[in-house]
């Protein structure tokens, strides 16, 4: 039985998911904590991958399985799961890590059923116990509670982690062994599901996760007009706007990708400014790592004040125009 740590490398249109590289970095850390470590192994699936293999080899992958074929250009769950299942049955890895991206969130649990093992979802921390086994820390009840998840009797021990949760990976020079995967067996797989198109657009403005200042709005912002003020102030400050679930449901925000919370984005800006936010556990768990948290709410009893450094009791409809004026926004 080996102690190899595998990482699924997700690529969409020749862009490697940040989550995958973060997981490679995490694999290096986990390996350093093991008494009898195995190899760090990456699995990459897609088409025309030679440049991507170069990238993967710079982040500590000692062995890289490459399934490179035209019919793997677009993500097809049955093909991708069949390749991972095939390799797992062949090599019996100790741990398999996968990004909790849109693709990984489907692929990970699929593979867990096919190879008959457990998977811990959306981990916020990964640890190694005294027996070199994986301890996956997962949030529950909106993130209020963290629980250790173990997978004592099945292999591989699988875990998924959302993008941006783990630290940025460091470059590590290793001699990577490249192993092409023979995918002839895929001719036996006849998927009923056909990917017929893909559309990606460049995100506008500063990504929420990278912004130094994030202005979050909740239901208390009240209307689209005041939401526009949040957007303008954030743009002026070089920051980004986040929202809560109720503000998203009202249709004020730019969309689901701007929601901050356990089931949305996790942010850690230098300054978090919250307007009209009640302070649900879900939202707080997505912004708790912000360096400075300032919240404005007209209700002195608002829950959010307990999770803030400063709670400003005031009417945001009065304060936002003043901020606009001060910052020279017309």
């Amino acid at each position: 039985m080996n102690k190899d740590i595998w990482v699924f490398i997700e690529q969409v249109q020749s862009n490697i998911s940040g989550a995958s590289l973060e997981l490679l970095g995490e694999a290096v850390r986990l390996k350093s904590k093991m008494k009898n470590p195995g190899k760090i192994v990456a699995v990459i699936i897609g088409s025309q991958l030679s440049e991507l293999i170069q990238v993967v080899s710079m982040f500590g992958a000692e062995k890289i399985y490459v399934a490179d074929h035209r019919k793997l250009r677009l993500y097809q769950p049955d093909y991708y799961a069949a390749i991972l299942t095939h390799l797992i049955h062949q090599e019996d890895p100790h741990i398999l890590l996968i990004g909790a991206t849109y693709i990984g969130s489907q692929l990970g649990p699929m593979v867990a059923i096919r190879v008959d093992t457990g998977i811990a979802a959306h981990c916020v921390e990964l640890k190694i116990d005294d027996n070199d086994n994986l301890v996956a820390v997962v949030p529950a009840f909106g993130g209020k509670l963290l629980g250790d998840i173990l997978c004592p009797n099945y292999r591989p021990q699988m875990a998924s982690v959302k993008p941006g949760i783990l630290e940025k990976p460091e470059r590590i020079e290793v001699q990577s062994q490249i192993v092409p995967v023979d995918i002839n067996f895929l001719s036996l797989v006849e998927p009923k599901l056909k990917p017929v198109g893909i559309c990606c657009h460049e995100p506008k403005g500063v990504p929420l996760e990278q912004a130094e200042v994030v202005i979050c709005g909740g239901w208390g912002v009240g209307d689209a007009e005041h939401w526009q003020m949040l957007e303008k102030i954030a743009a002026k400050l070089g920051g980004a706007v986040g929202c809560t679930r109720p503000a998203l449901d009202e249709g004020w925000s730019q969309g689901e990708h701007t929601m901050v919370g356990t089931s949305g984005k996790s942010i850690r800006p230098n300054v978090y400014l919250g307007f009209g936010i009640s302070g649900s556990t879900h939202h707080v768990c997505g912004m708790k790592d912000s360096k400075l948290i300032i919240s404005v709410n007209k209700d002195e009893e608002a829950e959010i004040f307990n999770f803030s450094d400063f709670g400003l009791v005031g009417d945001i409809k009065e304060i936002l125009p003043l901020l606009m004026q001060s910052l020279g926004i017309s």
Partner: protein, 283 residues
């Protein structure tokens, strides 16, 4: 083309009460008994999508839940929205199942119901939030499945067109029924229940199924047999000093500007002066 649709509906502890959750210091178990249950919000979008499909093509909507027996109120709400029949899987042997075991039990129940064209779930639940059950259910049923579906159209002859979300965009798919989909919240807006719906709900067929009704391997279900096992629990202390700041609107706005600067954000701002100095009574 009448379709037989199963919608998975999970009763969950109401997220509005999550701040009250505590851990029993002696037994190390989660104290959540006092928290009322609601229909998992994402699952209402699954019910809505089924209703829209039924309105267009006809058919039958069957809700499937796995929960303790005291969730009848939630099941009636799903029926009041317009579902036709409900099944509740309830057995002490099911308790503590992880996503592997839960999806296995749900799949066996769907097999028992039989002849299903479409399985619809939400993308995630508010309590566990793993998002894993939809895909694992599709695997057990050995039918094609997609997660985070933002558009679902049935063409002729049970051929379907779908869109799923990916980072910064979407993918488009073609498939044939039967299949399983987990719908994103943005796919629709769930309808409210009506008084008529509520009255009808209580007369609709509702059946409980237990371990004995399903063809299950007892060694693969429940807390003890699940592949993943829970270890230590920790409550997160999220609280900060929460200093309350009161003052005039100008003072509060100036406070924000000053603290942006203190937080290292480059700000070019004019001082905020009270336009009605001397007239307000603010201290």
């Amino acid at each position: 083309m009448a379709l037989k649709i199963v919608v998975c509906v999970k009763p969950i502890p109401d997220p509005a009460y999550y701040k009250d959750i505590t851990i029993d210091p002696v037994t190390k178990t989660i104290q959540r008994e006092a928290i009322p249950t609601i229909i998992n919000p994402a699952d209402k979008h699954a019910i809505e999508e089924a209703l829209k499909i039924k309105e267009k093509f006809g058919g039958k909507i069957i809700t499937l839940s796995m929960a303790p027996p005291n969730v009848i109120k939630n099941i009636h709400e799903a029926l009041a929205m317009g579902a036709d029949e409900a099944y509740l899987l309830t057995d002490k042997k099911f308790a503590g199942s992880d996503t592997w075991a839960t999806s296995y039990i749900l799949a066996k129940a769907i097999e028992k119901i039989g002849g299903i064209d479409l399985v619809i779930t939400g993308t995630e639940t508010g309590d566990g939030g793993t998002s894993q059950v939809p895909s694992q259910l599709g695997e057990w049923l050995k039918i094609p499945h997609l997660w985070n579906v933002i558009e679902f159209k049935i063409k002729n002859e049970k051929e379907v067109y779908l869109k799923t979300k990916i980072e910064n965009g979407f993918m488009e798919w073609k498939c044939k029924l039967p299949m399983a989909i987990a719908v994103s919240r943005e796919i629709n807006t769930p309808r409210y229940t009506t008084i008529m719906g509520v009255m009808k709900a209580k007369k609709k067929p509702f059946q409980k199924l237990t371990f004995d009704d399903l063809n299950l391997d007892e060694k693969r279900i429940g807390l003890v047999n699940s592949p993943t096992q829970a270890g230590n629990l920790h409550l997160l202390d999220l609280s900060r000093k929460g200093k309350i700041i009161k003052g005039s609107k100008e003072e509060l706005a100036q406070f924000i500007i000053d603290n942006l600067k203190a937080g290292g954000i480059s700000v070019e701002a004019d001082p905020i002066i009270c336009s009605c100095e001397g007239e307000t009574g603010n201290e």
